[in-house]
Symmetry: C3
Subunit: 315 residues, 3 copies
Amino acid sequence: MTTDQQIDANGQLRHLITLEGLGRDRISALLDRAANLREAFAKGANGPQLLAGRTIINLFFETSTRTRTSFELAARRLGASVLNFDIASSSTSKGESLEDTLATLEAMQADAFIVRHKENGTPARLAACARRAAILNAGDGNHAHPTQGLLDALTIRDHHTDFSKLKVVICGDIRHSRVARSDVHALEALGASEIRLCGPLVLMPAAGDFPQCRLFNNFDAAIADCDVVIMLRLQRERMLEALIGDEAEYFSRFGLTAQRLSRARPGALAMHPGPMNRGIEIAADVADGPQSVILDQVANGIPVRMAVLASLLSS
Amino acid sequence: MTTDQQIDANGQLRHLITLEGLGRDRISALLDRAANLREAFAKGANGPQLLAGRTIINLFFETSTRTRTSFELAARRLGASVLNFDIASSSTSKGESLEDTLATLEAMQADAFIVRHKENGTPARLAACARRAAILNAGDGNHAHPTQGLLDALTIRDHHTDFSKLKVVICGDIRHSRVARSDVHALEALGASEIRLCGPLVLMPAAGDFPQCRLFNNFDAAIADCDVVIMLRLQRERMLEALIGDEAEYFSRFGLTAQRLSRARPGALAMHPGPMNRGIEIAADVADGPQSVILDQVANGIPVRMAVLASLLSS
Amino acid sequence: MTTDQQIDANGQLRHLITLEGLGRDRISALLDRAANLREAFAKGANGPQLLAGRTIINLFFETSTRTRTSFELAARRLGASVLNFDIASSSTSKGESLEDTLATLEAMQADAFIVRHKENGTPARLAACARRAAILNAGDGNHAHPTQGLLDALTIRDHHTDFSKLKVVICGDIRHSRVARSDVHALEALGASEIRLCGPLVLMPAAGDFPQCRLFNNFDAAIADCDVVIMLRLQRERMLEALIGDEAEYFSRFGLTAQRLSRARPGALAMHPGPMNRGIEIAADVADGPQSVILDQVANGIPVRMAVLASLLSS
């Protein structure tokens, strides 16, 4: 799906599949809306019920309680009704095509689908055949995870209003990471000064995949002078593939320790999309330390997803 | 359970177990109410919250996300609180009798139970021991699926107000189909002129099972001059049993193709309860063609279930 | 966790982990509040929405649809939004620590967690690291099940206002029962005259475990002159361990029959926390008989849990 397919004839966002090519203005507008909603709902009170009477369906083909819960809370806070469609027991497991499942649920007047799938392109494929409903990509393969990109951008913007001075390093399994891709698209659109990618050789992206980034294999070099350090989750099953002996060796070369963090700029932000493997990607004292904004990322997930849902559905 | 057991001392519908013997007036009244609710909720707006404060529990012993979702959306639109009782992890799997599970949930002030079960008669058995709550049959064995019968009738009525002129054919695995049984009961009550059943010999009903219907084994003959063509889902595990070589042979003899549909009356309705096996029961171009009302069936499922819930609970 | 950890600096209940040491006044206040809420919601009408805008998360590491449903209904009736966190597919199964899962969900602004876990102490461990949210123990190992203790106490109090005259016997698998422990703590706090424990030798508690109780192995002796008879569920896997030949023999020695119940005081209450194994722990005619208050226990579970949630969250 090209970016244009996310935008309708009136220039409005119709689906959210990827941040690639969305552009600074649209991304900034989503972050502004998220910040406004965050304030409106601050005291635990009920804010505007922008989605009252709307129905939103979670279509998670890959399990992710964390992201699903965040979307569900966001939708409910805006007054929407949320249904979790149980994939394991669904018609798609009875031979029905994914397109027919979508058409069936649309006929029940579902207004939006939150889709996670292990294959790249499934949300785009559904967007291409949706009649009326909006499709929100909650992560597809290693392609995109746009709301993660937005919530990471909002978390950074809470500390740095001017992205043009920022150096950011993303460290870990870049190759398989949809988070890295969406973060890079957001950071690039917002004008980050420099984006560095770092990881074991075999977990680095294919040549030419991230032309806008500087590539490193040495984390001590990559982290130097950075304002933001984004650590990625390492799937245990990639450990062997990474040609790295064990967890201790991975941690010693690519783990974020207090000592390593001290090589970044003073007060540099330490980020992680979770769930964390403490002692593998990040030291416990850094995760819990004063420079960590990891729980802010989680908290920002709610208003960011509210902003996206409101933008797609309340017009 | 005889029909009488569905009706209380004041002549009100108390449970919905089967359409058999319900009679034209009650069925027409449910369809009228469904049509009215459909209109009231048309613009996605909130209609009357007839079931505010009521609690409805989904008791699905057979998985069916499609039907469960339809019931859940219907109940929520009327303001009810819906709970999905997870059978796999429930007390019934800890040796508790089904009757005790029902009594326990009734003691928690559940107002209605939506029940699906692979054995004929389970919903009737629960209705017989319910103290206060209403039981809605969402499909039991090959016995009945009354809301499917109603939504099919509503879909047909949207096109044909006078059933006395209608010829309807139902094609496929009649023997194991609760949909066929409930469709026949609805069509008969509404005065359909002729109901034809067609399928492979071994998937036809037992002798005397449908005395009101004409039986066919040749679909080309059965479909001639029909106003409505209802295709049934073929469980893959029945294929061998059907003594039919493979899917292609089944499709060639009993599949609904454009050519075959042209033998019916002009503008005949093509229906399927879903989930569809395209290329087995129905050709893709027919499923997506101008005579298909398959997605209308899905859409009508919501107001029909709202009408049934409102009739059972809001008095 | 000591009792003190459940109470905040202002003397308010902050978590509910155990009834041990809570004291008569707090327990009576919770029962009073439950009785008031029960009355306020009596006619199926909506009562006060004390928890509107609050988010409550079910964290059930052991399946228990019955208790989870009771908590969910209680929370919804007070206007809270309830989420079931699916443990099997959650981050904790991806190597995330339980503490990090809690912190993540707290960052999403969850206000309370209902926790069930097979290991003693898990709810206390979560309470120790919760920042803002309340932890409610819905059963941990054989340690405590405080809301069961409260609902049993409320059920008894509905019949006997003066506990100081009561003799209560608890019969069955005492050793592994968190219900027995929480019942004893409630009964003791409310001043019950005598608490007797009875069961097969190997299912009796460790020496010194219940210093306030009289221990029996003969149920006919234990039940004599009691006002309340609480039967415990026997896990089938304990049967062998109990050194008892089979279900019939267990029933003959420790089952509650009408004849045995006649040895208790006239009108003695027959109780069971469910799910029941009829014919093993209790005869069907006793379970369904006039002295049974088993469904009252279930019904009281809702207002008791409403009272606890309201006390922890609505201040």
